[in-house]
Symmetry: D2
Subunit: 255 residues, 4 copies
């Protein structure tokens, strides 16, 4: 087999380098968030970039045991107590377009919308309003808007505030705010949720779309490990009994 190529980590006996930096130096002087940024971007973050990434990771780490990812991890742990990595992995598998994964779809929406706006010579806000109306007319959900619990997601203004404070608020945030405004003008309660907020900020920081989902996985795994640890320490095996109501065909005999 040909060797696999990589530009991420090199290692030899006694040495490990991440994007060129000695891992032991990073252990002494870097934070985990620095290295998350470094692994994905190839360079260390500025203090402002680190602050924004920390805020995103903290914001998505956990949202309660009942979130699909957390509940999935606890259910898996309930039947398979010995396998910690299996339960955590099961939790990650609940992350997709509908839960935790809207960030990357939203980054694509932003990038496409802004690119089209550029071609047509219109502003970010006008592009967002048009994209919103087109999506509604086509019956598509708009990623990054709406939350099943929050009528106003408290994490969004904080994240946008930090971006403004850092001087890193750009067209991504402008686009998302116009999108939410379009919803409100049309009488809909669709606040920018954390996925939409992180999508805007990551766009303005120069990340590409897949990172909008990957960063959620990195942050959420911290919550999943805590949820699994709590399940194992507080609860008995197989304690979860999901109530089920059968509504299929009545009892019958084989022919």
């Amino acid at each position: 087999m040909d060797p696999w190529r990589t530009a991420i980590v090199s290692s030899s006996d006694g040495e490990i380098r991440v994007r060129g930096y000695d891992v032991t130096t990073l252990m002494q002087r870097g934070t985990f968030t620095d290295v998350i940024f470094l692994l994905h971007r190839g360079e260390l973050p500025t203090p402002e970039e680190r602050r924004l990434l920390d805020a995103i990771l903290v914001g998505v780490a956990d949202h309660g045991s009942g979130a699909p990812s957390c509940a999935t991890a606890r259910l898996a742990a309930s039947g398979n107590r010995g396998a910690l990595s299996a339960a955590v992995a099961a939790g990650l598998l609940a992350v997709g377009d509908e839960h935790g994964g809207a960030g990357s779809n939203c980054m694509t929406l932003i990038a496409d919308g802004l690119a089209r706006a550029g071609r047509e010579g219109i502003e970010a806000g006008a592009a967002a309003r048009r994209d919103f109306d087109e999506a509604r007319a086509a019956g598509r959900r708009v990623p990054g808007l709406g939350h099943r619990l929050h009528t106003s997601d408290p994490r969004t203004p904080v994240l946008f505030g930090l971006a403004r404070q850092a001087g890193r608020a750009g067209l991504g945030i402008a686009y998302m705010e116009a999108l939410a405004e379009a919803a409100q003008t049309r009488g809909l309660t669709l606040p920018i949720n954390i996925d939409g907020a992180l999508a805007a900020v990551l766009h303005d920081l120069g990340f590409d779309a897949p990172f909008g989902r990957l960063i959620f996985l990195v942050g959420r795994v911290a919550g999943l490990t805590a949820e699994v640890a709590e399940e194992l320490s507080r609860e008995k095996a197989m304690r979860i009994k999901v109530p089920v109501q059968y509504d299929g065909v009545p009892p019958r005999d084989l022919p």
Copy 2:
């Protein structure tokens, strides 16, 4: 179904609290590493504890694309490009007793060894030497020692150095150093690897054994997401061809 009990996160419309703290405050003033500590311990870390946790998370984040977890994630991504969380989860599933998971087994070894030492009134070092010999006599691998690449794991002295500097080096480190010394005295090249090093430090910080594996998962997921992103951006689908040699029964016909 009875409600699930949790002491980790509470949420209501417009508010999310992690171990009692408002998540928006944590987003502004905490680091991701603070919140990892908080989620698992219930309290925020001291600066020294944060430094040690950062060093561990950085130390385990990635060790090259060929590590079982990273290679597993890349292989899964190669056949299933659209599913980012699936590839990352596959990578976590390669983490177990043999790869990345020795930390928790080693924490159990340390805790059991020190407990027995306490009961018998002997020192940590003497306990470690006895445990080492007992394991070897029984043909058991000693978790936390040895590495398939490094004759001396460069991350171990750095981590122990940080613990000493922070005034948090305790019986865990003493035990592991005696274990490695026992190996050396008996003519074996079995350096303390990163799993053994983090086990010692986490023991001295008061963590329980499962956290030795969970922290590896949290750190490694950062490497896995970067490896998956690189696979998708640099390589074509299905590019990995594992060479296989068949050595089973020759061609035969059904009876």
Copy 3:
């Protein structure tokens, strides 16, 4: 990388052979159950062996949407509708010592018990009674006995009946029946569950312990795919709301 060795499948342009047999012949003349047996044992089953394997696979395929594996798969599908393999994989991750995985532990118990009986020159029944008492005295759960729903698992007598009819009931079944009798004599309601029943039958068919868990995975995946398909066709995304009650520290401010 050295080629991987395998004795399972060989393939070249235009030809695939499973354990030496041309796959196209197997497709025309074999059943899926034949090939499951062939893959694991290297030879095709006799009609009696096929009947027993079919009975086991049918018996474990599904036990209701509320079983941990099924509920985990549905929860994952609820948040990640686009990723069918992720939801099914999540369901498998709930299979472990406590759910669906007792078969392999029970096969180890049977094999160890019978080996010791052989060394000591006692009968299977006597060995089982002694093993039962030793496990109870040590506070260990005995794998293969007890069910959270069934006071008497209806699948067990049917499977044992088929084994007797096929002339393949051996020491495995004798051991498990003695184990259940020991429980009853001691006043405990611990029927032989499907894991214990399949363990006994697979032992008598000459399978080794890991197969007791692997066969459960093969059978259950059929139920998981059906559960996931039903979730996606009948239910909306994110419809599952697990009720959660927070009982941790009250709201507090950062220092």
Copy 4:
């Protein structure tokens, strides 16, 4: 939480029914393939339907240790030997659009193509040729055609032959054959692969698109369990060393 609704399995103390049939009767008189069909369609198959489903399941069960799903499972097992369900689940996670999952995409292509043909009053063959040209013009891969090993997939003619023999060859097969013919006419070597073949047959049997991927998962899990069992019984932990070549930035110091 409201009870979950299901029409698949009902169970109560001493009784389990699958789609209305007592599981103990199915264990005695049904095959595993019968129950796979029953779980997904709600009715038992005719002998012809059972034969076709068996042929598909056998055809996809395993294609060699180097297939992405099998290699992923073995890699995961190599680092995490104790967790059988984790390794099997990891293998399933490699199944997606590029590997093993083309069946469902192909079923959608067939259904859409035939529906459009119906609306426009043209034949299946003409629809397929047009769809092929449109896909090529747009630079899209056509699902169900081409294989990285086989210039002619030996499983396809066998499966189509069985369908014809059973009198169940319909528009699905006609469509796929016209698609392959269009490729050939345009000078391309794109044989109908097993995904395309099973898609055509399942379409003609009345299954919907997701089943094209789910059936692959059910069949492949049999190969994955065998691959994992072989890895654990023949190989040492961590034996797999993927060769890696670093081509990133050279060593550098932190600022």
